[in-house]
């Protein structure tokens, strides 16, 4: 297992290298540069600026400089957000994005698994059909439709619960207060709930027909124990392999959610950075996301091997 882990982590290095190279040259191929503004800068100043950021050197040399600095953990200054280095910006933004993503994933797993199990236990009854229809809705309605709808329902008009009126803030981060988190986390979690519920139902239906479940039933175990202790372990396997892509989908979703709710996460930096030709910022965010995805895929594989004794990692 240890040997496997080491080899996997070493294997991540070429992957990261490919990502950095692709992103670097694609970004530089874009027309325009970071110092294009409404009002053109005097040529001397522009030349000085470019020299200060090494932008006057040949592309290959810039690439070499970037690579050698990045290896040492120096991702350079941001071109647009003056006075900030890329590392500082990501350091500020990542906790916001991570907090959003983790809460959303947690919520999605909790609700999605419960719904999936419930639908599987009531297979081909109305409970099953209604859960699956709602799940299909969750998959087909994009985040940027659910976000304004929920904002309108919960943020603008508010809801009355137990005689208390709730009105949630429609945007802003406010230091991560839970009131500000409710709407973005819900919006982010909805499609994941739908996908997880569908996966869970499919796997559970199959597992519940297995012989060892019949044995457990014959032994007289309670239904709850059969499902939670015996069936869930096997039925969770497809879910674990979904976690990697699911997390990538959450990151993608966070691009939109951060934009809609005006949250200071790194997804927003990326879109703005790409549009502003903020080369270093875009590169930094891409590297950050790619490393996250690689690490999480790795953890998912390890979890898979622990849950399924048939899998041997070598």
């Amino acid at each position: 297992m240890t040997a496997y882990a080491i080899r996997r982590l070493l294997g991540a290095i070429p992957t990261l290298f490919v990502i950095i190279t692709l992103a670097f040259f694609m970004m530089r191929a874009a027309p325009g540069g970071p110092f294009d503004m409404e009002r053109r800068l005097p040529p001397e100043i522009e030349a000085n600026l470019k020299a200060a950021y090494d932008l006057d050197k040949p592309l290959i040399q810039q690439y070499a400089i970037y690579l050698s600095k990045a290896v040492q953990g120096d991702f350079g200054p941001s071109f647009k957000n003056k006075d900030f280095t890329v590392a500082e910006l990501i350091g500020n933004g990542l906790p916001v994005s991570a907090k959003l993503g983790l809460w959303a994933m947690g919520l999605a797993l909790l609700i999605g698994i419960s719904l999936g199990i419930w639908a599987a236990l009531r297979q081909n009854h109305w409970q099953d059909y209604s859960v699956m229809t709602v799940a299909m809705l969750g998959i087909t309605i994009p985040t940027f439709v659910t976000a304004p709808l929920l904002t309108l329902a919960l943020g603008m008009y508010g809801i009355t619960l137990f005689g208390l009126e709730f009105t949630l803030p429609v945007g802003g981060w406010n230091g991560g207060a839970w009131r500000n988190m409710v709407l973005p986390v819900t919006v982010l979690a909805l499609p994941q709930i739908a996908i997880i519920a569908r996966l869970m139902r499919g796997a559970m239906v199959e597992v519940l027909r297995a012989n060892y479940i019949r044995t457990a039933r014959a032994k007289g175990l309670s239904a709850g124990r059969i499902v939670l202790a015996h069936a869930l372990r096997a039925a969770a396997l497809p879910l674990i392999s979904y976690l990697g892509p699911g997390l990538a989908a959450l990151l993608t979703g966070s691009l939109v959610v951060e934009q809609i709710f005006g949250l200071p996460g790194i997804g927003r930096y990326f879109v703005q950075g790409a549009l502003n030709r903020d080369y270093t910022l875009v590169m930094g965010v891409v590297i950050c996301y790619a490393s996250l995805i690689i690490v999480l895929n790795f953890l998912a594989d390890i979890a898979y091997a622990i849950l399924d004794p048939r899998v041997r990692l070598k």
């Binding site: 070429p14 992957t15 490919v18 990502i19 692709l22 992103a23 694609m26 970004m27 191929a29 874009a30 027309p31 299909m136 809705l137 998959i139 087909t140 309605i141 994009p142 940027f144 439709v145 976000a147 304004p148 709808l149 309108l152 603008m156 499919g202 239906v205 199959e206 990538a248 990151l251 993608t252 691009l255 939109v256 934009q259 990326f270 879109v271 790409a274 549009l275 875009v282 965010v285 891409v286 996301y289 790619a290 995805i293 690689i294 895929n297």
Partner: protein, 302 residues
């Protein structure tokens, strides 16, 4: 005697797996209804210019953000001639939704075809050749899998300045990976079959074997995956449009219409309602058809 007997018996027709699959699909009500609805949407999109008295870019400053005539709620103004209402510069929403359907469906189909061609050829080649070449080719797929692809699509759209054709290609180039994996898996089992051995013995070259014998036999899972790729691609296009990286005005897509509508949701909800409805129904249909096809071709889960 034996001649008489065979003449007396009605000719027995073998039922191929395709006939069976079609029969099962025809019995699946959700899938059949989806096919009909999708057909209607495609028909509307194709004949959009004939179906509306308005052009998709016809501006009317007298009818700004007007509700349709039948709108049951309060609205600033109503436009009886526009059955889905008008947008912020008085364009007819109905005809714009249909033009949006053209773009969204075209993106969905073309990008899916791109991913289909790349994925099937790549997967079949890797699976058929096997050995070290297979290892290498699949290793490349693994590396690409861990790329945060949406970022590359965004960068591509920035680089090529929202080139429409490139949108197709970029999305298609992202979506082929899963297809390649599916096809490779199928190919690995098919290449053990006797008819492949027979072809090889007859001196058919590897390329011909892949295109003539392997690919036709992986159609089943590929068709299922294609119907599920189209909605993914439509969603991705709308997502890019929402970020302002999609198709440019005055042309439109469902994503553009939805993001415009979301901005004006409080004052003019019909601007969000109709494009969102059309898109959701379309995605629903594709998903139901995909599920129906899967059940029809692989009935073990029924």
């Amino acid at each position: 005697m034996s001649q008489n007997l065979s003449a007396a018996l009605p000719e027995l027709k073998g039922r191929s797996q395709w006939v069976d699959a079609r029969a099962r699909l025809l019995r699946n009500r959700a899938a059949m209804a989806s096919i009909v609805i999708l057909g209607i949407i495609v028909f509307l999109a194709m004949f959009a210019p004939l179906l509306s008295p308005y052009a998709y870019d016809e501006v009317n400053y007298d009818l700004i953000s007007c509700a349709p005539g039948w709108w049951p709620f309060e609205a600033m103004c109503t436009a009886p001639g526009n059955i889905f209402g008008t947008d912020a510069i008085g364009r007819d929403i109905f005809v714009r939704v249909l033009y949006g359907a053209r773009v969204s469906l075209a993106v969905g189909l073309v990008a899916t075809i791109v991913s289909l061609v790349i994925g099937v050829l790549y997967g079949a080649t890797a699976g058929y050749l096997g050995g070290r070449i297979d290892d290498l080719m699949m290793r490349v797929v693994d590396v690409l899998y861990s790329l945060p692809f949406i970022f590359f699509v965004i960068i591509l759209m920035v680089v090529f300045d929202r080139n429409f054709i490139l949108l197709f290609v970029a999305i298609g180039a992202v979506e082929w990976l899963t297809m390649a994996r599916i096809v490779r898996g199928q190919t690995l089992s098919i290449k053990q079959k006797e008819f492949i051995e027979a072809a090889r013995a007859a001196g058919v070259g590897p390329f011909s074997i892949i295109t003539r014998h392997v690919i036709p036999n992986v159609v089943g899972p590929v068709v299922v995956y294609v119907t599920l790729t189209v909605p993914t691609v439509i969603l991705m296009e709308s997502f890019l449009s929402f970020l302002g990286l999609g198709i440019q005005e005055p042309l439109t897509s469902w994503g553009v219409l939805i993001s415009d509508g979301a901005d004006q949701m409080e004052t003019a909800p019909w601007m969000l309602l109709f494009p969102a409805l059309f898109m959701a129904v379309t995605l629903f249909c594709f998903n139901f058809i995909g599920d129906g096809l899967r059940d029809a071709m692989d009935p073990k889960d029924r």
